[in-house]
Amino acid sequence: MTATEIKERIVGRSLKRREDPKLITGQGQYIDDIKLPGMVHAVLVRSPYAHANIKSIDTSAAKAHPGVVAVFTGEDMMDINPMPAAWQAGGVKNNAITPRALAVGKVAQVGDPVAIVIAEDRYVARDAAALVEVDYEPLDAVVDAKKATEPGAPQLHEGAPGNIVFEWDCGDKAKTDAAFASAEVSVSEPIINQRLIPTPIETRGAIARYDAATSEFTLWITSQAPHVHRLLLTAFVFGISETKLRCITVNVGGGFGQKIFCYNDMAFTMWVARKIGRPVKFIEDRSENYQYSTHGRDHITDAEICGTKDGQISGLRVKTYANIGAYFSTIAAGIPTTLYGRIVTGVYKIPAAYCHVTGTYTNTAMVDAYRGAGRPEASYLIERMIDRFAVEIGMDPAEVRRKNFIQPEDFPYENGLGLLPYDSGNYEPAMNKALEMAGYGDFRAKQAEARQNGKYLGLGMSSYVEICGVAPSAWIGLNGQGWGAGLWESANVRVHLTGKVVVTTGSLPHGQGLETTFAQIVAEELGVPYDDVEVQWGDTQGTPFGYGTYGSRSLTVGGTAIKRSLDKIKAKAKKLAAHMLEANEADIEFEDGKAFVKGSPDQAKTFGEIAAAAALSYSLPEGMEPSLDETSFYDPPNCTFPFGTHISLVEVDAATGHIDLLRYIAVDDCGNQINPMIVEGQIHGGIVQGLAQALYEGAVYDEDGQLLSGTLMDYAVPTAAMVPHIETASTVTPSPVNPLGVKGAGEAGTIASAQCVMNAVIDALSPFGVKHLQMPATPERVWQAIHGK
């Protein structure tokens, strides 16, 4: 056994999270916990109409209410610009209409803010908000993404004729049309990916403070990307230097995408704080979060798949209407284009594919990234269509998958849809492992026997691939992807005189355990005690720039930035150790926190001794600067492509339509795992969000644009009793893209699970001739399908 084998590795261990002690004792600090001296509270007056002209606003009674400090309307805030549109659909014209701080002249959705009441107390502000009188002229509304494009549909914005945000496509249309024209078998299906509400348990909010003496703002936000918000708010909305705004994010109570975006509450709290000279706090309540913070998904699609009778897929043709909502949210157009169309063929080698997407405005809440962001929609579509095709030709769905999988030797794999090449993968072992765990070998016999007894069992599988670790700036920023910036990350690693290490990162952990994961990497690389490593984040004053935490990118991109700083630190430490040991640098080895001349490990200098020598700088090699303090920037050469297969087993009660989710099995490959406990936790949470889409959740608007699922009483976020025990396993195919060999795990569960459950439900219902069912598969919908309604 060698020395390196004996050494206890820190990377790869399921260490308990260092984030937890404060959170389990009530000592965490979330945005609503912050109180500033002199702080006042903001409450919004919001539109009850989905579409209306604002004829007049009378704020006099509200202003006269005791305890009210000020009341403002949108007209007051015309000196700042509308919110920015950061990611437009690439290579095509975008009609990007973004919201202003408060609506001016008309409202386009229920919950559109028309006035803001500032008071000493939250209760008083709410009392006074009820006194603001707004005279509306209601207009017809449209909520359906496809109907919005039809002649005669109500028009939301002058700058978007036909309510069109963009028309975008990818793939080879002529080749795909030809594949369908000559196909032995083709199947088409209308596929609806219903609108979801992300529902972090903490809603959103902002607290702004303005210092007139320095003309500097401080903005506390519950955010996944404070550096980006700082840039967008200063450069685009306020037209001031970004050095005049400091954004601080404290503990974030869940994000799931909804906290990536630049919202108007950030702008109006800043505007009011500057206007009245007092700090202003705005915190949404849950109904406001449901009405106005972003939603996810909402696609209406016609999908067609074709191939041979023996199961070879030859073509996929997709036409999708993507609902963007009433206005263009920050990165709204990138989700149903680059992150959807470009991966719509999934894990399969499909020689001809084409995807057309129409983004449309409707009188609904804005739609933007929600956990998985485009990839769950793509994965749902292809995995449903593979099953649909398998049923059509009478072949085992596992066999159809096996027959069409991209093979290990095909990587790096170009899918022909304008995506970067898939980095690595080995899809069949993950599927085989899942099938074995599920007992697939004798399932069909059991299923047939159960049917004899009037029990309807179903098994569904889902083999997925996703795009993580976004993204090379030169790809996402150029070449038609439409992202208006870079997507690198940066990190600083500073070693103090005492050998204690501080990492500052531009990533923004909000439940992913990044403090723990990053500290594990640092302790492993430098050989310092894990407890000597501190990880700091969240404050733009004191952390290097980062694009934020989303897209399962913070370990792959942010973590690699840290790794590069560690490499620089180690190189400098080695050089200094050579000087201290009066040896040649080439003869120095750095291992386990010690530097020594090859073959003489007993004459070692510890990392602590080297750190002290560097910081004191009494004796440094010629030309060496003091201190071990290195910043790195990492722009990935490619995205990463995690994959896996999930399987679920259900029993459907034919009398009531009730679905019992009996088992859920997940085999995921996210490359190397730094902390397997954290990875598994990410998978669990992701799966439940996806299976909730299959069985429970759906944001529902009526035809007038009223949100019927406007509270947690009506929107079915599952409880513990509504979800099954989850069985997990993994395979490990290290990513060749980054030196950590990691791929990302935050979204995989969600990307895999909705279709996994739906495929099982539809399999169970096959004796009733059911070939497809829209989500959520509520008992009512299942009962109707059984009864042919």
Binding site: D33, G685, Q689, T719, A721
Partner: protein, 161 residues
Amino acid sequence: MPQISVTVNGKQHTSEVEPRTLLVHYLRETLSLTGTHIGCDTSQCGACVVHLNGDSVKACTILAVQVDGAEVLTIEGLAHDGVLHPLQEGFWEKHGLQCGYCTPGMIMAAADLLKHNPSPSDDEIRHGLEGNLCRCTGYENIVRAVKYAAEKMNEAPVAAD
């Protein structure tokens, strides 16, 4: 304004409160006990669960004036002399939390569950926590955390006091 006298985490407080003040706002704003969270406006999410005279309640559904003369326990009062409650330990050991926002309410609800059912099955834990929503964990590790705590509490010798 009405005056209330209430013992919170063993410490007595006398305060004047508006009659409409919710207990959760009294705890958070007046007493600065911000470990009790707010996640909804319809009493669904359970982020605000505290104990009122030993029973779990949603602090968003109780008025501060209703707790006059009562004893309230919040997440801040659950650990004793720096020793974590077995549930706090269980949530840490079993990765029962991610963002941590639902956690105080979840732990307080689970404490009440274990008081009434010291050895719950997985199913009983899942049903016992139906009044609390978590969006991060998928509940799998919350179930493990509560089981961990139940086992630990059942092993521990009965405190002699």
